[in-house]
Symmetry: C2
Subunit: 333 residues, 2 copies
DNA sequence: GTGAAAGCGCTAACAA
DNA sequence: TTGTTAGCGCTTTCAC
């Protein structure tokens, strides 16, 4: 910075003012300094900024890059943070790198707040961290527990899937669950409630799963073995939906002619043309924006009551759903 | 740090020595200071460290989190950096956030080196950045151009795929390319060379593609329309291989009975049980380790000649390949 | 083995 | 509108 200052023939303070768009410099001076800085390839030293500023403006974002849905949220986090004058510091969680390590690193960067994307931990863990930083959970969050939360409305998502199927004429709608995977419990609950609301509670059928294609295949075999009368399956996840469809195909059951399938997450997978799966989509960009706003609110009002922001999902209708054909069971067709 | 020092009844310098495992303190003192620091929840301020140290020890890693293969490399980068005493700073590239922006941020963090994962740019771009930082390219790198490179041996990978197929008895092996996608040009070249080496150069057949499932489906239609006599397809990518297989299935062509297919990348997709695709796998962990070693070498020897490290791929045989059945073309079977 | 002191590059409060 | 100045929290050299 000293180089820029002397090259431009001004003080370092003025360079600082110009570089961070702070008020207190004439337009002509701004241009002059900026041109000089550009010519010298100057870029402010983030470390020095963070060290000196009262607030670091850093927001740590913890996520698992293996999960595409979390990646989408993180991608949307950058513009959202920009808009609020924050800087995103990424903390990747991997098999070799546990959470505490990642949090420690973000604390080292003096993050003012932490955004936890789709991360489940015992309540005690959140309490412990919350003592040191503002904390916002986002994404597939099971339940708010005193900590700020931004989540999709799982109830509405499941509802939308069920409604789409009933409008097509389905009544016997099975549910392929996700065990203790993020969001799964909420979705299962919403399924039961939804079926009750539609007056078809006696057709409730829950298949165990875990968001993998293997569990989808297993569910398919279970449906076939039980000569299920289900005409549609609502899956808690796209991968399990695809596994189900693939296994059914091996046994000659066609989707959507013989069975309709709705996935969940509207992932890249669902959009692939050869899959083309009707799926309940969450809105990663909206989740990211709301998360950053929650961070801002929490920083401004440390003592405010817990936030619970809910983002609307939307159903993407593709070609894995159709009206049911007239017959009694999958194997008697 | 001052808190820890006074709580432990020592000087701040001593705390510093203990916290960064530097020589110059007794074992008993180390324990004492560490316990005190732990009790106070102390974590060194990274900004202050970077600011004060002559070398930041930061290594910027630029990648696209949308590409699972790049994510795997990045994940392996953490332990590799640890081992060499470096700190990873992640720079995510997204649709909304261009490369220059990301590089700028990493420069702001005073990274000593940049690792570019699977990123293609004009040579001029590399030259420009290389003036400011050490630069290492890793992953699907088309060709070394004076800049340090760590890459998979595409030639050997393609060779392994071809050899596997010829050992099964295939001769008419088509290639589904990847256009200008990373690594695709190398793979196409290796395919032609490999076919020549196997003495079946007159059976060379290259289908255009772009690493999507759509291009795989298009290739399948092309094979069928041309009444291709190919008994096997080597794809430059897993997604295109899967698209090909799915489209073939729609036309009653079974894999591997009617046609064998080898993918490339050994991605999560290939490993899914319902896909179970034979695929040429790259070794992300080895790439990451070599990349960090290249960084270290470049930092230690700024004037050394360009590095070109090559990592061996390996073929994962699954159930999409088998011996060819006796017939002339896909549609005459 | 330990402590005192200087200063990394920047920001913010204030003085000119 | 511009310049001066005092640290932010740490590492490092040097004296003890």
């Amino acid at each position: 910075m000293a180089d820029v200052a002397s090259a431009a023939g001004v003080s370092r303070a003025l360079v600082s003012i110009v570089m961070r768009d702070a008020p207190g410099a004439s337009a002509a001076m701004r241009d002059h300094v900026r041109v000089t800085a550009e010519a010298l390839g100057y870029r402010a030293n983030t470390a020095a900024q963070v060290l000196r500023r009262a607030r670091s403006r850093n927001v740590g974002v913890l996520f698992s890059p293996r999960f595409p849905f979390e990646v989408e949220i993180v991608e949307a986090m950058y513009p959202a943070a920009d808009a609020l004058g924050h800087q995103v510091v990424l903390g990747a969680m991997t098999a070799q790198r546990d959470l505490d390590r990642a949090v420690d690193e973000l604390i080292g960067h003096r993050c003012e707040a932490l955004v936890l994307v789709g991360l489940d931990r015992p309540d005690a863990w959140f309490e412990q961290v919350r003592g040191r930083l503002a904390l916002v959970r986002v994404g597939r969050v099971p339940s708010p527990a005193g900590v700020d939360v931004v989540r999709s409305d799982e109830r509405r998502g499941v509802q939308a899937g069920l409604q789409h199927l009933t409008e097509l004429g389905h009544r016997r709608i099975a549910f392929l669950g996700g065990g203790d995977m993020p969001g799964a419990a909420e979705r299962a609950k919403a399924y039961r409630a939804g079926m009750r609301r539609l007056g078809v509670a006696d057709h409730v059928c829950v298949l165990a799963g875990d968001y993998t294609d293997e569990c989808g295949a297993a569910a398919a075999r279970e449906l076939l073995a039980n000569r299920s009368e289900a005409t549609a399956v609502l899956a808690a996840n796209d991968w399990s939906a695809v596994g189900l469809i693939a296994e059914l195909a091996r046994h000659g059951v066609r989707v959507p002619q013989d069975l309709s399938v709705v996935g969940y997450d509207d992932s890249d997978l669902a959009r692939r043309t050869y899959v083309d799966l009707t799926s309940v989509g969450q809105d990663p960009a909206a989740l990211a924006v709301q998360a950053m706003e929650a961070v801002r609110h929490r920083l401004d009002h440390p003592e405010a009551p817990p936030i619970d922001a809910v983002v609307e999902p939307r159903l993407e209708v593709r070609s894995s759903t159709a009206s049911p054909r007239r017959r009694r069971s999958l194997t008697s067709g």
